[in-house]
Symmetry: C2
């Protein structure tokens, strides 16, 4: 999935987001916690295409891991909603797959956390634009990836800061009611137009790529 340079920003990567959801848009259920990082919800299909069927989705997995820096929401980094447990070092063990700087959106300051293999978690307390600016600087000419969850992707979409949305749709419904809570792609995003770029079907996931036109607002 090679990408042309974004218009108006020669030598810069684009800001893309990768998010897996059910056909009804849920990236996580309500009640996320240590035991159920994706909440009260069958998370199996959201993971299976990457971890159990990585071969048939090799291009998309590679694209996710190709960014020069990442931004993620607090709930993607850590369970719970209280203050930081400073012993918490993310869900990914001592050698996370990012191998790049990861900027975690949070209200709780914390010193950077250097992991094995090139990943360093930086904790950003002054909002999504600041996190993106820092990620862009770290990424240089490479892409910045908004790594999730859905509510973080929504915030970047709503702010017009996203160039490309890569929506990985698993072929199942969540069974969750709209009022159940959880994290749902496009929730709270104003009415915007996207431009279909490509689509690919596999037995376990459909990959939909849209241009979100973010470069128009922030080029």
């Amino acid at each position: 999935m090679s990408l042309p340079p974004a218009p108006g920003r020669p030598g810069m990567g684009i800001v893309c987001a990768d998010i897996s959801t059910t056909v009804d848009g849920f990236g996580a259920g309500p009640g996320q916690c240590l035991e159920r990082p994706f909440g009260d919800f069958d998370q199996g299909p959201l993971h299976a295409w990457m971890f159990d069927h990585g071969e048939e989705n090799r291009a998309e997995v590679s694209a996710i891991l190709d960014a020069g820096a990442y931004v993620m929401g607090r709930n993607m980094f850590s369970p719970g909603r209280g203050d930081w447990d400073l012993a918490w070092r993310g869900w990914w063990g001592e050698e996370p797959p990012y191998r790049a700087p990861v900027f975690v959106l949070t209200h709780h300051p914390r010193a950077p956390l250097e992991m094995d293999g090139g990943t360093t978690f930086h904790f950003v307390t002054d909002g999504i634009e600041s996190a993106l600016a820092r990620a862009r600087e770290a990424a240089g000419e490479r892409n910045v990836s908004i790594a999730g969850g859905a509510s973080t992707v929504n915030a970047y979409l709503a702010a017009g800061l996203l160039d490309e949305l890569r929506h990985h749709v698993t072929p199942n419904t969540s069974g969750l009611a709209a009022s159940a809570g959880g994290s749902r792609l496009f929730e709270g995003v104003p009415a915007i137009g996207l431009v279909p770029v490509s689509v690919r079907h596999t037995p376990h996931v459909t990959h939909l790529t849209y241009s979100a036109g973010g470069h128009r607002q922030n080029g």
Copy 2:
């Protein structure tokens, strides 16, 4: 888009549904009425792929119009939520495009309404299974199409009565909140698995076809 016969039902068509929604799943907004049949919501993109860009979507438009009988929800046939205005003859003029029997789900009895060109609207007051049984009988060996809206498709999905879902996703968000009301695909459907069959991208719509496995429950 030629379809193989559904397993276990030789000589019978399948039960398919065609529904257009935004990327966030809305097929109509809240406040549907005579002036705004799709409610308080930009309905433009939901129609444009069929009516303004029919050439590039010819196969999908043909498939919609290929059924031997249709089922549709009350709100798709008529504005308002009160009793029937018996002068109302549908949204499609004197010669609707269906050219087949159309079974309208309603709580208000009404005599069949024969239109020009082969369409007859039948009003069914005893539920979705009855409407489907009548549509199947009328369709013979041809497919039955659940024509919408989203809440009617949801009812058939939830009941396990759908063989195939053809979801036509337009590349725009609705801007509606989950709590706004309106008609949203997959709302109230329990957690079910679908099987991706095919996907096709056009500039104005993405066509996603899923097997919904309805024949397993009602073959």
